[in-house]
Symmetry: C3
Subunit: 366 residues, 3 copies
């Protein structure tokens, strides 16, 4: 393997979308069920260590726990438990070299901790819109729009996050809903007795209200667990909403996007406020991340692409997300240099734009 380009290895990394890390030890089933988007190990398949990501854990993470590279899964997990979650989390998070975390605290199971606890990095929060709605709806439907707006007014988050993909899919109507429609939707939700909503009007309302306040909105797009229907998570389904919200001039971030990352690149090119990444996919495809990143960078302007890990629960995922991102970006730039497609100063500019400058500009981090 070629060494990383110095401009890639030395660039700060802003992880503009990740989650909390689990501060509790895990048995094998617990580890595997957090590894991929499968909710558990299938008796019809084999271990989830039989995957690109599983191999990457054994290959790249084992040495950080003082095991030989490619140590067997059983030894890896035993070592992980003997060190304890705190030490494991510290090892991987500090090795990730991530300088700033934007953390979505919307799903925060018992035992979760902030990633910055283990690194001293800067940490900023992302407000999960569905969580906000679920927090303020119990006080009644009629006051729901006002309470949601108050919560948005007082947030210290640097961005909002929508998981409309999981609730209703991404084919959102572009129109801003009226308060009457929102109250009626909230009323239906309360009547249903469910703590969770799956309502297109409410999803849409929250997105518009966040953008009105200048809050960049992140959308889960593409690949995720079996709770979503992937064909309803193609970023192109957001086209009408993107067209309608462009005049606001507030960034919209399309997260993950795999396997629709080329679709996302198109949206980032033609809509002035759209940014994209290939989070989650980077560590999932592991040693093949170079091809996925290359595809994602075909037509996207380099001023519109971001880095994220989408790491959740396992500290390994922050580390591997950053490692495979750097490797893929370095390979993309090295290939371009070898083909004389651009020069070293261009490569350096691209590495810094994507590594941190685009995030700083879009989220106004300074």
């Amino acid at each position: 393997m070629e060494p990383l380009l110095p401009c890639v290895s030395s660039s700060p990394l802003v992880d503009h979308h990740c989650h909390g890390v689990l501060g509790v030890d895990l048995d094998r089933d617990g580890f595997e069920s957090n590894l991929t988007e499968a909710s558990s190990v299938s008796p019809l398949g084999t271990s989830l260590f039989d995957s690109s990501l599983g191999l990457a854990v054994r290959r790249w993470c084992a040495p950080l726990l003082d095991l030989p590279s490619l140590a067997p899964a059983v030894e890896y997990l035993a070592r992980r438990r003997s060190l304890g979650a705190a030490e494991v989390n510290r090892a991987f998070l500090s090795a990730s070299g991530i300088s700033t975390f934007l953390v979505d605290a919307g799903a925060w199971p018992e035992g979760f901790q902030a990633p910055s606890v283990f690194t001293g990095s800067r940490e900023l929060s992302v407000l999960r819109l569905e969580r906000l709605a679920e927090d303020v709806v119990p006080d009644g439907a009629s006051g729901f729009p006002a309470r949601a707006r108050e919560a948005l007014d007082s947030t210290t988050a640097v961005a909002a996050k929508s998981i409309a993909a999981y609730r209703v899919g991404l084919e959102l109507d572009p129109a801003r809903p009226s308060d009457r429609e929102v109250v009626s939707a909230a009323d239906e939700w309360l009547t249903s007795g469910s703590s969770r909503f799956a309502d297109e009007v409410i999803s849409r309302f929250l997105v518009w209200e966040a953008l009105d306040r200048g809050l960049p909105v992140q959308f889960h797009v593409g690949y995720g667990d079996a709770d979503l229907s992937l064909h309803k998570c193609d970023p192109l389904l957001l086209t009408d909403l993107l067209r309608a919200t462009a005049p606001l001039g507030v960034p919209i971030m399309l997260l993950h996007n795999y396997p629709f990352h080329r679709h996302a690149g198109y949206l980032a090119q033609v809509f002035p406020h759209v940014f994209v990444d290939v989070g989650l996919a980077t560590h999932s495809v592991a040693h093949q991340a170079g091809r996925v990143l290359g595809e994602a960078l075909e037509i996207v302007p380099f001023g519109k692409f971001l880095f994220s890990t989408d790491a959740f629960a396992l500290a390994e995922l922050y580390y591997l997300g950053a490692l495979f991102f750097r490797r893929a970006l370095s390979d993309f730039l090295s290939t371009g240099l070898r083909r004389h497609a651009f020069g070293l100063s261009d490569a350096e500019r691209i590495a810094h734009l994507i590594g941190w400058q685009n995030a700083h500009r879009a989220y106004r981090l300074e």
Copy 2:
């Protein structure tokens, strides 16, 4: 070219989905119309030998007929005819090195023969669900559900196959249909006077009944001839049905999948009973199979991927399907080894899982 990795060249291959081979000699038009998914040669295009697959026949198949590599098409076809179908079939089928064939006998034109006739390999049968329905429907609509169930109860096939993709597309309702609905659909079919049905209720009924009996169900997905509408054959359209059938714990195999093979990989990762392959695409893309296989293996667990040729009529297709599959798998593994993504024992494990072990486990072949 690098030699194949020994673990790939020495692994047995279970072809978990193929068809019969034509035991009759062919003229040029007959050969070309069986070569690709085009039903005939277009006067607006050129010969179908002007394709990746056509070149592969001249490059790889000609030497097995004692012709120079890349012999002209006209010489190849003359030599093929002079040897006779029996000798040609024996040559290619034995050279394929396929140890077990799972044969879909649902389309079996005059002159077709079982591939194992020419090799002595193990052969197992796959029950075409549409064929079963067409066999039992003439005795009347009211008894149709019962007769279909009896036929399934008495089958010796190791799997069932659905070509819903060709009849109604893959957006199947997830609900198990009631017998009343099935009888009504059968009645409409009989009234139509057609021997062929295109009815979503019947397709769905047959799939549920096969799964109820523990019979793995293969679905044609993606790429095929002009009779299907490819946008209705995206595997993601099966999402609701996959979600509904997961609790049965019976494998569902998504065949071919090209150009939606990444979508299929996602389904195989998140649904415990889903397996995938790139069947037909392997020989169709020929020397570019490495990229397609690489994409297909990005996020799929290695315990959920299978080998198939989908060969039909031409003996060359079994041979080329196996040849390009081995080449692509070897290149995938060699690249991983070169990048230190995994070790040799990992590569060996993956080669055997994909080559035969996954098929043995999913179809309970031992």
Copy 3:
């Protein structure tokens, strides 16, 4: 970089779909807004020179203006203005080496000129169907079908072009509309007061009438500016219309297709009258064109693939379109030769089929 294969560098190139070139000098905003499909530079992104295409302009175009390779954008633009549009256009268009242009004059802003003015190449015209309709509709709805037919009867164009993708998307009903339906649609259009129509019946009528006269029809497919909704521009949405028009035996050309180029390849394989290209995408993805072309050529018969630049306004785009097409085709063929997938005479045949012979046959250029 390897040199181009001689068969690629020496083959004539027929650009079967391009537009006019701007004969007027441009400031930086004017240049950037014509560079990609973004309508303007976003204050949230950076310069559009931060893109694969922007880098390609600095890398490959600067030397033709006697600047060092990778000269800064500001110097490039200053030099461009000091030379003047006429000299710049002559430099790039003659360097493109394109021997024949098929020019869509449907969008022809003030200051546009024919590309052949600068090269002396052969130039043939493509009739924009929407423009034809907009020209003849003002004389009244009842005579609209007859006037549209007369205009088609008298055209000297070698092909027609449909931008249904931009107006109504590509999910066109396959049925030939009746004159009554067309008159009613024209009437609605005239009543609306708009000079532009977005009517599926009229789009469809025009396509059928062009095909009836033996005029090949080009469809904009896939990638374009923010006026279209990309998910409505998947070529698979044309399937029913392609099935219905196949018996006419008149070519249909699917242009661009990115990121659905594999879908287009399938259509070109199974429908006898369908041809495809990757037009616009070639210069847009620039140094990564090899992968996109490789994917596009996976299953398409080599007798059904064409070259086009889709260049519009900037002379650089004809040059870069031809340059990256030749580079990508040469790399595709060299890789095949290196893998012994075919021989040199096969490579030569493919280069000439795709470079010009397919266009000559499909458009009857001799």
